[in-house]
Symmetry: C2
Subunit: 200 residues, 2 copies
């Protein structure tokens, strides 16, 4: 980095370029953009970053992020506490909530089984899930991990473990996405789409 | 934005998605990334943003950003004070400094003439440039605005104004970039490359 730039700009560029998906050039552009903002425009962003960890807790039931424990979803009378949807990440909850389709509760694993990244069952919230299912009276556990190699392996692992509790375990449908093209779909997606076909 | 997310996360996502080139999805991903960082990882970024405006001044000679006025470049004994390079933005100075080729001083316009965006000569540091050239004894003024419509118009405007001061005014070469392909170059670039040809 050119050393004629003021130190505070250099520090900001360095910190910004640490963020995922932001390269050195984007970090420069963002820093200069922020420099041209009025003081009042910078304060909310800076303070939001500094206060982030103080105001956020994890819900000790579903392990989603929340302002208080238990979280809004676990604490809501409008949610069906007998259905549980298992997801990899917090953002998966955000995506599913946006559909407005699902009225049950969640369980966030915070990752998937991935021995190559050193992620075993202990690093995920799997133990908490099994305890939760064992202790509760759930009608269905929907496994909504990604249809990736690790996501499928994690789904299988969960399904095998939950078998003994006699709960119904389902997996989200994998198939051709809306707007997708059968011609360009890969073989695995196509066979899953065929296997998962439903009657009109 | 899903309202089950903690307020501090929602504020952060909102502030991040205001930044140029960062859409709502990237803002979400960045916010969750920051959430998973330790407190010590968030502090430098948050503080760099909050302190940004306090530690940075504009050099009243060249209008580049600096820690003190005059800036390091204007204050350096190693720079040739008789050559001045006119650029649009601070980042252009960064790019030119990286080449290590240029040893003169700069003048940052902070934009280009663009009537459609309401940018006339008064909005740019053009008056300051003309005063500076009038009052100094410069041997050459290199105009390094971008080879865009507005950049070329601004270059012409500056050249016309400086004519009366009897200073040599030059324009950076426009042509085929290194690694570029003549076959795919546009007509304007090609004619500029032909016009600007030099002897071996």
């Amino acid at each position: 980095m050119s050393n004629f730039l003021p130190k505070s700009i250099r520090v900001l560029i360095e910190e910004l370029s640490r963020l995922p998906g932001i390269g050195p050039k984007s970090a420069q552009r963002l820093a200069i953009y922020l420099l041209h903002q009025p003081e009042t425009g910078l304060k909310p962003l800076g303070e939001a970053i500094l206060k982030l960890k103080k105001d956020v807790v994890f819900c000790s039931t579903c392990w989603n992020i929340a302002e208080s424990d238990p979280c809004k979803i676990c604490n809501s009378y409008e949610r069906n506490k007998n259905i549980i949807c298992v997801v990899e990440e917090i953002l998966d909850v955000v995506a599913l909530e946006k559909t407005g389709e699902y009225k049950g509760v969640y369980h966030v694993l915070h990752g998937v089984l991935s021995p190559i990244d050193g992620l075993g069952p202990e690093q995920l919230k799997l133990g908490a899930l099994f305890e939760r299912v064992k202790g509760g009276n759930f009608l269905e556990v929907i496994i909504a991990t990604n249809p990736s190699l690790e996501g499928e392996a994690t789904a299988l692992y969960i399904q095998k473990h939950l078998r003994e509790y006699g709960v119904k375990v389902t997996r989200i449908a994998r198939g051709i996405p809306i707007g997708g093209d059968i011609e360009y779909a890969d073989e695995v997606t196509l066979s899953k789409a065929m296997q998962g076909r439903s009657e009109f």
